[in-house]
Symmetry: C2
Subunit: 265 residues, 2 copies
């Protein structure tokens, strides 16, 4: 369906940013000169030079191409704007996966208005995959070519595949809620970061359940999953574009089954 | 170092098999016509048409190119030979990852004599990555080109990254042993299947610890990791090429640190 703030320029600039981020990040991936630092004292949250360099190059593109839009980025915070639109950027979602060499981290780019994201990209530079969703639909451009994305048709939770990033999930209550759903499902897989939402949009899995998210972690996934036919809410059924606990589902039926369990936690 | 049974023909035939397996498998990956079946009644062990078709095509190549060698394959069992060499094949290692759409499954090809594997390939067809190890060294041919593989230099377990497939790992005692090591490490990531060993060989992580393995799951990883400078044993420090519980390490120092814990389990 159309969106009042979406036109071809949104896609042009988003692809320009994703292309630039790929070029900046790839020399650091699996390189021997990877410089990481601890962002949180006492915790393990590696931030790579690639992370900062990629957000910088995306901000430089926006400064030229879309100077009136606001920016919310993981590394460099908020830049205010006048258009009512905000680009929400996570240059490397899944930094732990990145430093481990796994190919399931991604560059997240979303465009939002007051109602949340209406366009998004999940880009995996190493594989060369771009999952995109917006008013014109959802699609994947990857090593096997281009194709439309469509979430799975309903099947019971006992047949469902669930993805998440860590078995710990978040706080203890988040952990308990997640495992209450996972224990009823057919299969649970870990370690996917933003790639989990891409696989949900691609019709490979039924549910993605996470906790402790920031706005920049979830806005691009929301846009891609919705455009492919899915639903993304918090664990109470409300909006999750400001972050928190996410329940992303392939269809309303499986969303309702998972929500009935999660809303007790 | 040289090996009496290794020559250029081994590599030629192994690459021919890996190329053929890629071609057979890829049309099924993320396809809508994926036919799975339950191999174990009551359990969830999906076997795809791709799995069987890929092993079949590899066996056909061996029948023509290396008729005197034995074959041990996941899908079609043992074919005896007269050369004293055995090709050990797992056409899709990580079938759960495959049906979930994750790009961390692989085609495993190894060549063994009575002492175990001395040549191996871990191939990821979707990304287009081939990790190879043998008497001539270890290398990766992938989307960013070709390069030699070298495991990480020693660092303490408290700085180490550990990979495995499931947080459950295996039996309860396997689970306890794994988590006794993981609780001392910097970072643990799940969901990688054979790709974990490829990342160990590539110098991205320090340890891979798994349990419940079959010979065809571990022989190609052993060859690749050893050729890159690493060590692969069971949890007692002995050979693991017949399967069981695997401890794969980047160097002798981190292997000793992990083994000191695991051998209590």
């Amino acid at each position: 369906m159309p969106h009042p703030s979406y036109d071809a320029d949104v896609r042009r600039v988003a692809w320009m940013m994703a292309d630039a981020a790929r070029k900046v990040i790839l020399p650091y991936f699996r390189g021997s000169d990877l410089a990481t630092e601890n962002k949180l004292a006492g915790g393990y949250d590696p931030v790579t030079l690639a992370d900062r360099a990629a957000e910088q190059v995306m901000r430089e593109i926006l400064a030229v191409e879309r100077p009136d839009d606001a920016i919310l980025g993981e590394e460099f915070g908020i830049k205010t704007g006048t258009s009512g639109l905000t680009w929400v950027l996570d240059p490397i979602d899944g930094t732990r996966g990145f430093v481990s060499g796994t190919p399931t981290w991604g560059v997240l780019i979303a465009l939002s208005d007051a109602d949340g994201p209406f366009y998004g990209i999940i880009d995996q530079p190493y594989i060369g995959e771009r999952f995109e969703g917006g008013p014109e639909g959802a699609s994947l451009a990857g090593p096997l070519g281009e194709r439309a994305l469509q979430t799975l048709a309903p099947r019971d939770l006992t047949q469902a595949i669930i993805l998440t990033t860590f078995p710990e999930v978040g706080m203890q209550t988040d952990h308990d809620g997640f495992h209450a759903v996972a224990s009823k499902a057919q299969l649970t897989r870990y370690g996917m970061d933003c790639y989990a939402y891409a696989l949900l949009a691609a019709g490979q899995v039924d549910l993605v359940i996470e906790a402790g998210l920031q706005a920049y972690d979830i806005q691009a996934p929301i846009a891609v999953v919705r455009a492919a036919g899915g639903i993304v809410t918090d664990w109470r059924g409300g909006p999750v574009h400001d972050g928190g606990r996410a329940l992303a589902a392939a269809n309303p039926e499986i969303h309702a089954q998972a929500l009935a369990i999660l809303q007790k936690y």
